[in-house]
């Protein structure tokens, strides 16, 4: 049973990877829509970007950075990945159509590219990086505290 699931996931991974060879930030499919990399595994490697809440694996962030927050330079320095992403997040939302989706609007991710996001992260973006957001004229909403 699990081997079947693995093989299916393997298929999808291969398919996903084939597309990823397109390279760059947002993935462009032939005649398709620009989108972020899809996480290719489910375990503890999954991490969420603290600014835009995009979910990918550690390796994917390290190699391709965050498609919504390129200025965080995650692909340049692994420290950026460690500081700007967290494994502590709740829930997953696969966002296909950010422009029309109500859920995306509610979660304030309506301006990001299609991809897998999380509903909430538990930590705040560290101060230095918040400064970088301001410098790049980019909005940052810290997680709600009760």
């Amino acid at each position: 049973d699990s081997t079947e699931a693995n093989s299916r996931r393997g298929e999808e991974r291969r398919r996903g990877e084939a597309r990823m060879r397109g390279g760059g930030g947002g993935m462009m499919d032939d005649g398709g829509v620009e989108h972020a990399q899809i996480p290719n595994s489910f375990g503890h490697e999954l991490r969420a970007c603290l600014r835009c809440r995009l979910v990918k694996t550690y390796d994917q962030f390290r190699e391709n950075g965050c498609e919504n927050c390129p200025f965080l330079d995650m692909d340049k320095d692994r420290d950026n990945v460690v500081s700007c992403t967290t494994a502590n997040f709740t829930g997953i939302i696969s966002l296909m159509d950010p422009n029309r989706s109500w859920a995306a609007r509610w979660l304030r991710i309506g301006r990001f590219i299609p991809g897998c996001y999380t509903l909430a992260v538990s930590e705040e973006l560290p101060e230095e990086y918040q400064g970088m957001c301001q410098d790049n004229n980019v909005q940052y909403f810290p997680p709600k505290r009760p």
Partner: protein
């Protein structure tokens, strides 16, 4: 020079004035534009959120049943499918951590949902698709922010396993790996452990949970269990290792995942805390742990007029009286006159304050209903002399209010009263010497070996009511209610409450509230 200086101070040259005005205007605009923006960001966040509520023009949310445990996988698969064939018309898919067996799909029409789910391994072809009412849509995306106050010395309770429900204290936190090390009173069955280590297969008695007991190295060694002394690389402290378990000072130090412990609303009972505090423990250390304990407890009722003391924050140790209570804020009138008339505190920062000599009543906890006088204040714990039993009882200051009420205590439950002679289930008998909230304390046994047993109401079969008489040392007739003097033994003058014509002619006395069994000296 001076002239020019004064001129520049008092007046600005015409030309410069204009430029300056423009400059000033620009600065003012900038300054105030920025500040309104900031204000907006903080306060209007909630209002903005309200504006984002779903309308009839928005796509709808559909709840779809999927394979249990594969909710995230399904959401990600659907994302992949969307990328592969962009004719998928769904807008988003949500997989919630706490909702098993279901995912939410956002789409304009149910047909879109059906089409998207076709061919997916984790969604059965016949899967139910339910529309979520528009009013409930925002609730679907609600995430409860878990206020995890995990710090050293916090009290937690175990969720699973042998130690389920047991109180534990956090000694180390690893946020990265979401694990903590907790300190527990071990529940080890040394026999089973010894057999296991020797390679003997033991039939696992699943229902048997060993009672909590401090770990004793010598006991373990007696059973031929190998105890190693190892130094933990992270903390640098020495532990005794047995079968992969770490012990120190008799406690078990166990690394567990954060998910397997309850962190909120932990209210350790007095007994649990006493057990944790091993004799010889540092009182100071204990006080600080008690303090964290109190900041997490649900505080008792503060009422107007209560004397309180501040226990947390900069105003620690300030005494005062409660003026007003509002939800979780308590306003107090401080004792020191130099301070403002009332100060507001969070109820977690205050603790009720009593002095020896105060007369109080216990309003919650095991001792509920008892009244008495405070004889000693020991941090958060009061020692009270009970009016009824004249015993010293220890209670938390939170559980007590000042009161001039004096209860005589409960003297009867059901048919049975204090000092009744009763027949217990197993054909033994005794005298009720104390009535507690749910049970009786019964004095049984024989002379020289009195035994006090805690007995529930249903364990009492009946009352024994006998009118008998016996003889005393000097061959006088003795009957109930006579005043007698005990010639041998600790007591002096007592009132006979019962005579038991048992083999040894036991005589039960009752001086004040204490009951003894004495042999009848014939």
């Amino acid at each position: 020079d001076a002239g020019r200086g004064s001129r520049s101070r008092h007046s600005i040259p015409m030309r410069d004035e204009e430029e300056d005005i423009d400059e000033i205007e620009r600065q003012v605009r900038e300054r105030y534009a920025r500040s309104t923006h900031i204000e907006y960001g903080e306060e209007a966040a909630d209002v903005e959120q309200q504006a984002l509520l779903p309308s009839v023009k928005d796509p709808k949310l559909w709840m779809v049943k999927c394979a249990i445990g594969h909710e995230r996988e399904t959401a990600i698969c659907l994302m992949q499918k969307f990328i592969d064939r962009t004719d998928l018309q769904i807008k988003s898919v949500v997989a919630l951590d706490h909702l098993k067996n279901y995912i939410y799909v956002e789409a304009e029409k149910e047909a879109h949902v059906k089409e998207a789910c076709k061919g997916l391994r984790n969604i059965y072809a016949s899967a139910k698709i339910t529309l979520v009412p528009i009013k409930e849509m925002a609730d679907v995306l609600y995430v409860e922010s878990k206020n995890v106050d995990l710090a050293r010395d916090t009290w937690v309770r175990m969720k699973l396993g042998v130690y389920k429900g047991d109180l534990a204290k956090v000694v180390d936190v690893d946020n990265v790996r979401q694990r903590v090390t907790v300190k527990l009173i071990p529940r080890i069955d040394l026999q089973v452990l010894a057999s296991k280590l020797e390679g003997r297969v033991v039939a696992k008695k699943k229902t048997f949970v060993p009672p909590p007991r401090f770990f004793n190295i010598d006991e373990a060694r007696e059973m031929h269990i190998r105890v190693e002394r190892r130094r933990d690389k992270d903390s640098g402290e020495y532990f005794e290792m047995v079968d992969g378990l770490m012990f120190k000072d008799g406690f078990l130090y166990k690394p567990v995942s954060i998910k397997s412990i309850h962190t909120q609303g932990i209210q350790p009972s007095f007994d649990e805390l006493e057990k944790f505090k091993k004799p010889g423990d540092d009182m100071n250390g204990d006080m600080s742990s008690l303090n964290t304990l109190f900041s997490n407890r649900k505080k008792g009722h503060f009422m107007k007029g209560d004397a309180v003391i501040v226990v947390k924050g900069d105003l620690k140790n300030l005494e005062g009286w409660v003026e007003k209570v509002e939800d979780t804020t308590v306003h107090i009138r401080p004792k020191i006159s130099d301070l403002p008339k009332t100060l507001a505190f969070n109820e977690k920062e205050l603790c009720k304050y009593f002095k020896p000599g105060d007369h109080v009543k216990v309003v919650s906890g095991v001792q509920e209903g008892t009244t008495g006088m405070v004889v000693k204040v020991d941090g958060h714990v009061l020692i009270i002399l009970s009016d009824t039993t004249k015993e010293h009882i220890r209670v938390f200051a939170d559980h007590v209010v000042e009161s001039s009420e004096i209860t005589t205590g409960i003297t009867r439950i059901g048919d049975y009263e204090l000092h009744d002679l009763v027949l217990l289930d197993n054909l033994s008998f005794g005298v009720i010497i104390r009535v507690e909230t749910e049970a009786f304390q019964v004095l049984k046994g024989v002379p020289d070996r009195p035994e006090v047993v805690l007995v529930k109401l249903r364990e009492i079969k009946s009352k024994i009511d006998r009118r008998t008489s016996a003889k005393d040392k000097f061959n006088n007739m003795v009957a109930t209610k006579d005043v007698v003097r005990v010639v041998e033994g600790a007591c002096k003058v007592c009132i006979l409450s019962h005579l038991l014509l048992y083999l040894s002619s036991t005589l039960l006395c009752n001086p004040n509230t204490v009951t003894f069994i004495f042999p009848l000296l014939n």
